[in-house]
Structure formats: structure tokens, C-alpha cells
Symmetry: C2
Subunit: 400 residues, 2 copies
């Protein structure tokens, strides 16, 4: 497991930006009892629940819980209070020494209970590249792509925290052919963690309310077995090619911490329908970095995402489906216009035909057993400069 | 809400079979406290938790919980004890009068917490009919269909108990076109309710263990908006065309109660891969009935399902994805070879081109506001004759 705080981030230079005000959950620390809510602080983590309980922090009854579920259900006013208070506390580290837990002594756990996990396909460059690779003679984008934020439900029960090893999945790769996947891939994504009260059935969330349902952001790796996915997906979409594991960062960065990161979305043609437009239609300027065994292989720009977080929330509820606190929305693979900005090996190796050359002389079409993939991201900080969103990391173990 | 016990089943003749030994959860009954686990018993429901606590029943700590989650996690030995004990109790109704709650005084609630909901496409007649309707000039079945039990994850958070009204969903019906669905449909399915301990990541459940993970069966209506589904589904499958509501029966019929209902599966050509074969590869002989506003419109035969429950469990875990107690697997629409056995209006009206004529002189391509759909099923009882699996019912309310 890996917290992705500066002490063990593979970004690894002294110039690496600090992890911003964020929340996670750890077990251990040589203390009895259940897991506890913590915040990153240099080489340690801050016991947020204990601090709130003894120093008059806001919502100690929520911050003292063993995960973020209670806080997610409390809504934006509570989130603002907590983030504001926590930022103040972190600015005065000398007063916090009694509340610090050494990173080495704790184990990050999944920071919230994932209710439903929906993975979108919100990046035009990724969707178009995938289309070109899979259907070289067809149109890159399906006819619906610029009208509908396309997505599917993933498996909530296999969302795991950063650092959890990923066992290479086996499955059907074609007619009569089964075995370990030969095309294990990553997808570098932004994950939006939903909170607020559960919404009412039948009532869509309009764009101007959509961001009140987004607590914060995680980094997400949607591990994918391309061979299994390709064979199974007609006509109902991916199942076993995705359902074996989805990793998220240990730290959830609250949206309020990303106030300086909002950017205008890319130009759209045609214009989306009116229910998907409004002042909240903005993207987040996260610069992501994908490392394979420590070597930087791509820098996907999340600002390029065609569909913005508010649009995903509004679209998902446009049929009246209610939301629950703990719903997790993935952006889909983030890819930029340039080759070195592609967010998965399917694109980086162009369907396996152009393996990625690595510094050690080897190359990769897809992942090998033993490979470690780390995705990090930075964003403009409210105070100027950039902040880190931590990391999502995973090692590939051989198929059982 | 509707329990589907004989007193309010629309099967409605005195010859209707009794609901078998089954478990559900109700709130109310003029008693304080949370919901409670009950069993159907004629015109009333039996307070199973109270009975177990005071009469020395098995696992009173599980049967006294507010839903079936604890029992689902306990595994087949516990399930066998509970079902055996409950069957004995129900056989001696004179001793139970102090534990009966009148059906009119209670409200059924969702009997368990749905972990992940996976909807399969396990019926050849349905898959082939859907193919013929959607791609009249193509092959009815996709090339993978007879090799892979095709399926997708649905929205666990919108699974509702029988009797919950369903609000007509709105959504995109085509380029630049949004509004209430004009093609609201039902899908009559068998739902398999999974239990047992959560399985370990990376370890597939083999066929010979698969049924130890199936606690029982519900009737399931996978409400579908065909116009929304058709426009959004390329290439990742259905999302909003399905995610607004999935209804399940209030009663969960334990697999042990269906011991006389096992039948050989249909012949397969080609043979499935070995991991999908074995003695547990058997289907359940449920005869389903779909009623629209009380009028029988179809009798889908679940014995015709091409992929069996053990195959669905084994396939779902074949990539190493763990199961959780409370996972719900839908069979997909059950359709027989004959027109009057088709399990959805897409097929019954052949894509809307042959509306279904009703006794009142009206007809339906798809559902109208105010329509009530009830799905019931019977199965061979262990004691001979047939038992009922209750019902799943829902009324269509206009779009908001």
C-alpha cells in the first residue's frame, strides 16, 4: 500500500510539490481500534479525527469515523468547514506534533465505501484513438459521442486503494481460447467522489447543482485486459476485461482545494443539449504523469477532457436515477493530442503495433508481470504554485 | 409496495400455488424498531426473527437483523439449517399465531443490501430476437454469444422492491433530441442472490463450488428505455436506458427450496469451454407469467436459459474478481421459442412494429403511463405440485 505522500512518491525530487489539503484513511499506527481519517503532512500523516475531537474542530462526530462515508453524506457546507479548518491547522505544523503518525507505521485503506462506480469515456483524443485502432476503416468516433457522455457501470466491489497488487486476470481471449490476459493495460483517469445527501428518484440534478454533489477527486487507474474486453464486449460493453481491479489514490483531494484549477472546457461542435450547459461546465487542469517502473512514459492533461465533471453528474441523473454518497465517477482515460500524452498502452503502443521503448532497452506493448505503474498528478494551488494529488500505484502479479 | 403473498397476488384464483418457504423483510406492523425478517404464510407474514429468538430457532442473531445481509454472509450450512427449520415451523401453523403480522399492516422493503448488480444476456431466444430486430440484415447472435456469458454491470443503487412505482425516465433519444422515453419496456428475469463469504481476489470460483454462493432467487424486472438505450450504447453498452430502476420481488426463495426445479440445460453447440461445464450446469424450471394491468401477456420459461446460474457465477469470477454477499445477478430477459413466451415488449411487439392487442381493445408497442406490470413465477415444489415465487410488480408514473 502506498500513501503517495512526499516521502515515498516516486516523483522523488526535492522540488516535488506537496500533497494539498486532502483526506484519506489509514489502519495501524500501533494504535488499537478501527481505521481513522488522516491528512497528508510531509513525512507523516495527521490524525484528523483526534485533532478535531480535542481541538474543537468542525464535525468531530464525522471526522472520528473509520472512513469518509459520514463526511461524504454531510454536504458542501460541512465540507467547506472541514477543508477550511484543516488548511489552517496544516499551516501551523508546530502545534500538530502530538497528532502525527509516521507514514511507515500506517497502512492506507479504501477511504470510503464505493456505492456505484460509473466509468465514462469523456476524452475525445482517447475515444478517437481507440476508434482508429479498433476500426481503422471506420469513423473514429461513434455517432453519439459528441452528444452523450458515454459511460458504463463498473464493479464497485473491486475498487482498491493505491498499492494493492493487481493479479493478472485470466479469461476468454477469443473462440475456444482462454488463459491469462496478454494485453494487460492501465487507464489514467480522474475519479470524482460524490457525496451530499442521496438524491430523490426521478429528479435529475441540474448543472447548477451538480458540483454540490462532488466532494473531491482521486487519481484512478482503470486496469484493463484488452484481449478479454475485445472478445466479450459485443453488444453490452466491457465486463471481465475491467472488473478485476480499479485502483484509486489513498488521498481524496476536496474540490474546494482545487478552486484555482478550473479551466474552460474544449470547444464543442455540435453544442451539447441545453441540460448539459451552464456556468459549472468547466474542467480541472490536472497534469497527470504515468510512470512504468519509475520511468515517465506519459503526461496526460486532464484539462483536455471533453465532458466536464458537472456534465457527468447531470447526465448520470438525467433519467431520474438517484445518486448515493460514495458514488465514484471515472472520467475515462485521459489522453492529450501528442503521443507522449496518451493515457494507456493501447494508445501508446497503437494497439500493440508500436511498443513503447524504455530506458533499460526493453519495450512494452502491454504490461509484464512485475511491472509497477504509478500515476501522479499536480494542479494549480490556491496559494500559487502547484500541489500534488498524491499517487495511485499498483504492481502486476502473475496470474494464479 | 406489494408482498405477493396469496392475498394480493394477481394470479388470483383459489388454485394458485402458495408461496414457498421464502424470506423477505418488512417495516411497520405497528411495532416499533427497524425492519424485520419475515416469511410468507397465507394472508399474513411470519415474524421469523421473533420466532427464532423465542423458540430456539437456528441463528437467531442473524434472523433478528433488519435485513438478510447477515444471513447471506453465513453460507450454505446456515442457509440449510434456517430453511429446514422454517419449513418445519410453517408446516404446523397452529403454533405460530402469536408470530403472524397481517399483510395489510406491513410494508416490504428491499430484503438485502445490493452489493454489485450484474445483468446477463443468458437467453438465446431473447438475444437472437433482439439481434433480428436491431440488425435485420445481420447475424442474429454476435460471434461471442455462444462462448461467453455476455453481461454488464447495472446500477445497484436503483434496485427497488416490488411495488415501488417507476417514474418514466427522460433522456437523449437521438441527436439533439431529448425528452421522456417513448419506448419504456420491461424485462422478465430471474435474479440470483449471492451470499457466502466474500471470495478472495484472483481466485475464480469453479463450477463445483458456484452454487454454494447462490443463496436464492428473486423475480426481477429490468425496466428498460429502448430509445435511450439504443442511442447511448455504442460502444460501452447500456447506461441510462437501464439505470433508472430495477425491481425485485419482496420474497427471496432459497435455492434449497427449489431442489425439485433443476433441469438439464438446453443443448449447446459449440460446447462451452471446460471451465463452464460440470454437474452443477443445470437450469431452474421456473414458469414465469407477465401481466399487463392484470391481463396475461406472456409466459416465459426460465428452463430455456442457455447459460445456467452456476455458469454465470463461475464466469463472473473467472478473471479473479471477488464476490460479495449481496451481489445480484440477473439472467437477462427470459424468452421462449413461441411468441407468447417472449419476456419483453421489444420482442412481443417486434420493435414496436406489431403492437400487442389487449382484451380492452387497446394495444401496446411499449408501456403507457399508468400501466401496471406484474411478473410471477411458479416452480416444481419439493413436496410435489408447484410453488409460487411471489411477484415483482410496478406501476409506471409519468415523467416528472
Amino acid at each position: 500500500m502506498s500513501l503517495g505522500s512526499p516521502v515515498n512518491r516516486t516523483v522523488g525530487t526535492s522540488a516535488a510539490p506537496p500533497v494539498g489539503t486532502a483526506l484519506g484513511v489509514v489502519a495501524g499506527a500501533g494504535r488499537p481500534g478501527p481505521s481513522r481519517i488522516v491528512a497528508p503532512m510531509g513525512d507523516a500523516v495527521l490524525d484528523v479525527g483526534a485533532l478535531a475531537a480535542t481541538r474543537g474542530g468542525p464535525h468531530p462526530e464525522l471526522l472520528g469515523l473509520p472512513n469518509l462515508d459520514g463526511l461524504l453524506g454531510a454536504g458542501r457546507p460541512a465540507w467547506r468547514e472541514v477543508v477550511g479548518w484543516l488548511s489552517e491547522q496544516l499551516a501551523d505544523p508546530d502545534r500538530l506534533s502530538g497528532y502525527l503518525l509516521p507514514t511507515l507505521g500506517v497502512v492506507p485503506v479504501l477511504p470510503f465505501t464505493v456505492a456505484d462506480y460509473v466509468d465514462f469515456f469523456a476524452c475525445e483524443q482517447h475515444a478517437a484513438n481507440a476508434g482508429r485502432i479498433i476500426r481503422p476503416s471506420g469513423e473514429p468516433l461513434a455517432p453519439n459521442w459528441k452528444h452523450v457522455p458515454v459511460g458504463y457501470h463498473g464493479r464497485a466491489g473491486t475498487v482498491v486503494v493505491s498499492g494493492t497488487p493487481v493479479i493478472r486476470p485470466s479469461g476468454q481471449r477469443g473462440p475456444g481460447d482462454a488463459g491469462p490476459s496478454r494485453a494487460l493495460d492501465v487507464e489514467a483517469e480522474v475519479g470524482y467522489v460524490l457525496g451530499c445527501s442521496d438524491t430523490a428518484p426521478g429528479r435529475p440534478v441540474p448543472m447548477d447543482e451538480a458540483l454540490d454533489h462532488v466532494f473531491g477527486v482521486v487519481l484512478l487507474n482503470d486496469w484493463s485486459a484488452r484481449d478479454i474486453q475485445a472478445w466479450e464486449s459485443r453488444p453490452l460493453g466491457p465486463l471481465l476485461g475491467k472488473s478485476f481491479a480499479t485502483s484509486i489514490s489513498a488521498w481524496v483531494t476536496p474540490l474546494d482545494e482545487l478552486a484555482a484549477a478550473w479551466v474552460e472546457p474544449p470547444p464543442r461542435d455540435p453544442q451539447p443539449l441545453p441540460y448539459l450547459l451552464g456556468p459549472t461546465d468547466r474542467g480541472l487542469d490536472l497534469t497527470m504523469e504515468i510512470r512504468l517502473n519509475g520511468e515517465l512514459v506519459s503526461t496526460p492533461p486532464a484539462a483536455d477532457l471533453y465532458w466536464t465533471p458537472a456534465q457527468l453528474v447531470t447526465h448520470l441523473t438525467s433519467n431520474g436515477a438517484p445518486l448515493r454518497a460514495g458514488d465514484l465517477l471515472g472520467s475515462g482515460t485521459v489522453s492529450g493530442a501528442r503521443r507522449e500524452q496518451r493515457g494507456c498502452f493501447l494508445e501508446l503502443s497503437w494497439g500493440g503495433s508500436e511498443p513503447v521503448a524504455l530506458a533499460d532497452g526493453s519495450s512494452r506493448a502491454y504490461l509484464q508481470d512485475g511491472d509497477e505503474v504509478t500515476i501522479t498528478a499536480t494542479a494549480p494551488a490556491r496559494s500559487g504554485g502547484r500541489l500534488s494529488l498524491g499517487e495511485v500505484k499498483g504492481n502486476v502479479l502473475p496470474a494464479l
